[in-house]
């Protein structure tokens, strides 16, 4: 858990230019972290590369918070 969160956090900080302290499990990408739709698509692409997995379009649409991303990766990798 901690390790996945750490890697996810790093990607979010790099990609969205937010502070590490803002990246909380309940934070939504769009409202809390200021991402637009395309940012979220890119974020999902980077998570796929980082964790060497494929996330379907349907699943990707359900990933709205940092916690969603972490849970998805843990359940599927």
């Amino acid at each position: 858990m901690a390790e996945v969160l750490e890697r996810v956090t790093k990607i979010i900080v790099d990609r969205l230019g937010v502070e590490e302290s803002q990246v909380k499990l309940e934070a939504t990408f769009k409202e809390d972290l200021g991402a637009d739709s395309l940012d979220v698509v890119e974020l999902v692409m980077e998570l796929e590369d980082e964790f060497d997995m494929e996330i379907s379009d349907d699943d990707a649409e359900k990933i709205q918070t940092v916690g969603d991303a972490v849970n998805y990766i843990q359940a599927n990798s």
């Binding site: 395309l38 698509v41 890119e42 692409m45």
Partner: protein, 247 residues
């Protein structure tokens, strides 16, 4: 050279306008993936010609109307070339008939290849281009998509659709350094237009202010312009390359 060191994929590149686009990109320095649906031998000929120019080239088979086949093709190209800088959506078919006589399957086949194919190829390549933060997508529409043409309801609808798709894709991808433009050829001499009867050709010539049919090269030059740095401040546009048919 205008596309020196760039990696390109051209769909429907085994003959006609697509073939000339692939060759012109190569003459301007690009490596080219030559997509074809059925004409393997002709695609291999194009590949050989590009290699003789000193560029890299591969033939890649895929039906652009099939999503799985398209994503496999794009992965193949990335494996071979490392990047995809230029996508030319050129693959197209015709199944002409008057609307009253047009079969539903002919409508579907043309929309699937000529419109859905552009969507699928663009979607598949966008992932790579977004990572690169740059890319050029050029869609081959048609002047009949702007002005309409009796006997081609399916083709015209698809080609008009391509113009709308071009504008939307341009808006969605602009922030990532990707430009998307379309070229609308007029009456160009290819296998596709050779099938038209003489009367139709004579009638069409009357509508062309520059008073000649176009050649594939006339289109290829404009595509290279849109694929090059020269057009970097243009996106979402449709260039009419039609001898002045529609102004």
């Amino acid at each position: 050279m205008k596309t020196e060191g760039k990696n390109a994929i051209v769909t429907g590149a085994s003959r006609g306008i697509g073939r000339e686009i692939a060759l012109e990109l190569a003459r301007q320095g690009a490596n080219v993936a030559v997509n074809y649906a059925g004409s393997e031998k002709m695609a291999n000929d194009v590949v050989a010609e590009i290699k003789s120019l000193g560029r890299k080239a591969i033939a890649v088979q895929a039906d652009v109307a099939d999503g799985d086949s398209v994503s496999t093709m794009m992965k193949q190209v990335v494996e071979q070339f490392g990047t995809i800088d230029i996508l030319v959506n050129n693959a197209g078919i015709t199944r002409d008939n008057l609307l009253m006589r047009m079969k539903e399957e002919d409508w579907d086949a043309v929309i699937d290849t000529n419109l859905k194919g552009v969507f699928l190829c663009t979607k598949a390549v966008t992932r790579q281009m977004m990572k690169q933060r740059s890319g050029r997508i050029i869609n081959i529409s048609s002047i009949v998509g702007v002005g309409g043409n009796a006997g081609q309801a399916n083709y015209v609808a698809a080609k008009a659709g391509v113009i709308g798709l071009t504008k939307t894709t341009a808006k969605e991808l602009a922030s990532r350094g990707i430009t998307v433009n379309a070229v609308a050829p007029g009456f160009i001499t290819t296998d596709m237009t050779d099938q038209l009867n003489e009367d139709v050709k004579v009638e069409m010539l009357k509508q062309i202010p520059l008073a000649r049919l176009g050649e594939p090269q006339d289109i290829a030059k404009v595509v290279v312009f849109l694929a090059s740095e020269d057009s970097r401040y243009m996106t979402g546009q449709t260039l009419h390359v039609d001898g002045g048919m529609i102004m």
